[in-house]
Subunit: 279 residues, 4 copies
């Protein structure tokens, strides 16, 4: 991303270039400092949201948390403005995933200013809690995630099939249990019985709803063993995908002496791109 933006920035004015460098490139001291500061600010902000929800803490330190919150919001706003300035195509940034995350990180605090007594307390509270999505801003630092992401993306159709199979199983099993068990033991409706089937199939097992009849326990046992075995499927899918992505030391690091391309198999005698003999 940084290289691409560099190329585009050919026509940016010098100070916008400088801003771009600080924000988007991590290999200058200023850029590194920016990254670390941002990381601390995000973490601090999440902690503030969490602490505000703890009754005794809010009562004691409510105004302090409020001040920190406003300080962080202003800094995030500055960051947002700087990002818009630093890129050549601001709209593309604004409607990108991280652009929206950056926007949603600052809007709730400002909205809490304009909300008057007319709004219900619940709405205001929900709005303020939206700030927790700031945690998604951290995604920018996860450059190492690419292998994982690729494995997940190429497993997507299989994982979808897997999820549909899960849905089918829990729907049918939930309905069967609903027929067998007494509503007074918690199986009051099919959706609730399906909820129980999900709790059981995924091996979570809260125990707030549990079958009491012999037949119900027999069916529950089947769901459990199915859940225990079915987990093999997503694991198998993702593992196979990751295993297909070669690790660094498996890729032949030699480059063709003629065309300099890399990525040859370890048993290759000739360059697969230009046909010259390899060393």
């Amino acid at each position: 991303m940084s290289q691409e933006s560099k190329a585009k920035n050919g026509t940016l004015s010098p100070w916008r270039k400088k801003v771009h460098e600080i924000i988007f490139e991590a290999d200058t001291p200023a850029g590194k400092l920016f990254d670390v500061t941002l990381l601390i600010m995000i973490s601090l902000s999440i902690i503030v949201v969490m602490l505000e929800s703890v009754e005794p803490v809010r009562k004691e330190y409510g105004s302090l948390l409020n001040i920190v919150e406003w300080g962080l919001t202003i800094l995030f706003t500055l960051e947002y403005v700087m990002r818009i300035i630093a890129v050549r195509n601001p709209w593309k940034y604004i409607f990108s995933f991280y652009g929206l995350v950056d926007l949603i990180s600052i809007v709730p605090t400002y909205l809490s200013l304009v909300t008057t007594g007319a709004q219900t307390l619940a709405t205001v509270r929900s709005l303020r809690l939206l700030r927790v999505f700031r945690i998604l801003k951290m995604g920018r630092f996860l450059k190492e995630a690419s292998t994982l992401k690729r494995a997940l993306v190429s497993s997507r159709p299989k994982i979808l099939v897997f999820l549909l199979a899960i849905m089918t199983i829990v729907t049918i099993m939930g309905t069967i249990i609903y027929m067998i068990e007494d509503p007074k033991d918690g199986f009051t409706s099919i959706p609730r019985s399906i909820y129980w089937a999900i709790v059981t199939l995924t091996t979570v097992g809260y125990g707030d709803i549990a079958p009491q009849t012999v037949l119900g326990q027999f069916f529950a046992s089947i769901i459990m063993i199915m859940g225990y075995a079915i987990i093999a499927v997503p694991t198998g899918i993702v593992t196979a995908e990751i295993a297909r992505t070669p690790s660094k030391d498996q890729i032949n690091t030699q480059s063709c002496p003629n065309c300099s391309k890399e990525g040859h198999d370890s048993d290759a005698d000739f360059c697969k791109f230009c046909g010259s003999e390899l060393d």
Copy 2:
């Protein structure tokens, strides 16, 4: 399947050919429309079954749900009749898996007409709930499931052995716990103790029955750690099977025009064994 039926349909009358095309082929606009309509109808139908089981919803919207149910049943009946007409060998369809699923999708609603006060309410209710099996009609759309299915089928003997091992472990462990623990803590019989062993081994852990003695907790710990380790077995089996099935974009089926060797990467331009240019 669609190709096979096409071949057979050589002798079907034109309008039956047309019906066949709509129902069994997804690559014409009419066929696509049919598929989407069917998918919506199935989903709607499942939702109706679920909502009917929720007491307050049934009281409020009972008659509306009944009307929707009858509309859907008539449409499913039409679909069933059309499928019988469109295939050359109706009996083969009727006794196929999806033929039976299609039949069971419509029968319960009609049966609820003929059931009189003589039948118990429970039977009627169970019959109506059978409609939830309509969800299996969706299986037709899961064409992507073939890799998964193949991996599961070829793992079947190993998974069977695994299930038998699980059965043996829970039977023995359930009996041991039944000997150790007091019946008043829930371990009232061996089958119930085996149920507890399954709940524990599969790491579901409801907590409605839990060992109270030191010795019982010690054995429970052994079951838990066994369950935690045993899960590796189905996972290993399925993963190894999936890993053996190569993904489409990794295999390049072309062979070298010079030395005829295969196994080239999809980005290879030259044969890695003799250096000749590939097509």
Copy 3:
């Protein structure tokens, strides 16, 4: 095993040969019948043990169960005697795993005859329950288990290290939680806290003991996420082992035209046993 015994049986008298054939070989009609009968008898026997433990069933059908039990025990005794007769080295059989299982399958019922009022009821009951180990007699039919067994055996040292790591984690974590949490919430001693740590690490989570303090819940979260990630280790070990065992269609099925040996790699040009060129 059957081949080996055949070789040894060269000196057995004809009728002992016949008995051996029936018991140890599944490819004759008599042998097949014997296997099926034995399988049914074992299943029936396990069911009897289970039903006896269910209070209402025992009261109603106690004497019937007793008769079936005695019938089965006599048949198992006959089987045991026949096995001793049919093998050339009876002592080797008697002290083999299945020999001991066969013995323990019949002894408890006979012992229940000689136990007088002097023995406590608990001892008699435990003895009778030992019959549940008859389920291990089924192991003989699991000939398909060899791949799994090989994978598990060659993973043994790694699984042992894994178990020791688990022990270390739960010991330390259990002690830490014991320090943090109040004894009245169930953490009354270190062994009990370790039991809780195992319940949590293996993701069983009964919920009968659960941390109540903020610090305790924080540590519990760490254990849970560790448990969630650690499960990857046995899975990885077993999967890698199973993946190493080649499936039938991966092994090159061609045999050497010179020495007829099989098992060549798919990229082999020369027989690895005699050096002749392969086709």
Copy 4:
């Protein structure tokens, strides 16, 4: 480690050499005896710490446990002193991982002497419990752990990304559930709701806190299915790493005396590439 130390010990006096041999080398009878003794002492010591925490046992056998504890501490102290004497660079040992573990294994008992009534009972108790870390001394014997360790170390960046993803999911999901559910059902604050999300995502499922509203149960279902599918990721990572590490008995390190190619199976007598006889 033992070889490296041997090299360094060239200048140690003979009796220090002898001590070094006993402590660091397991292939002499004295060394083997030392290892076994140490293993027993560690196990005994852990058992003492555990038993002390069990109220009835402490009351009955308190003084006996105290005597054993002091005996073991003195022996561990001797071991610590001997280790310092036997290595050429004592400071390096003292500040190594095992050096610190060895120190922490003896300090708590001595500290319990000097603690007077001034210290609170809780501090003294915590100090004494620190002795449980003696279990880490066992790490020295896990030489087989290297493959596992290597697989884990090379998976570290991916596992870190995975943990960060988990953190993000539970933070957002915990906040959403906190908004949906009533505080009186246990969701009293965001940190507590995040704790619940971790309990659910990792499929532990204590059941002490569980969603009661339909919307809450719907979100809980999403978390459960996510947790059920996400577990595939660490498993995939570790499995792929372990699969990359070849097992010892599969690699044949000999190269063909004629064409020098490697990669022959361990049962190969002839080179599979050129047909020459192998050694």
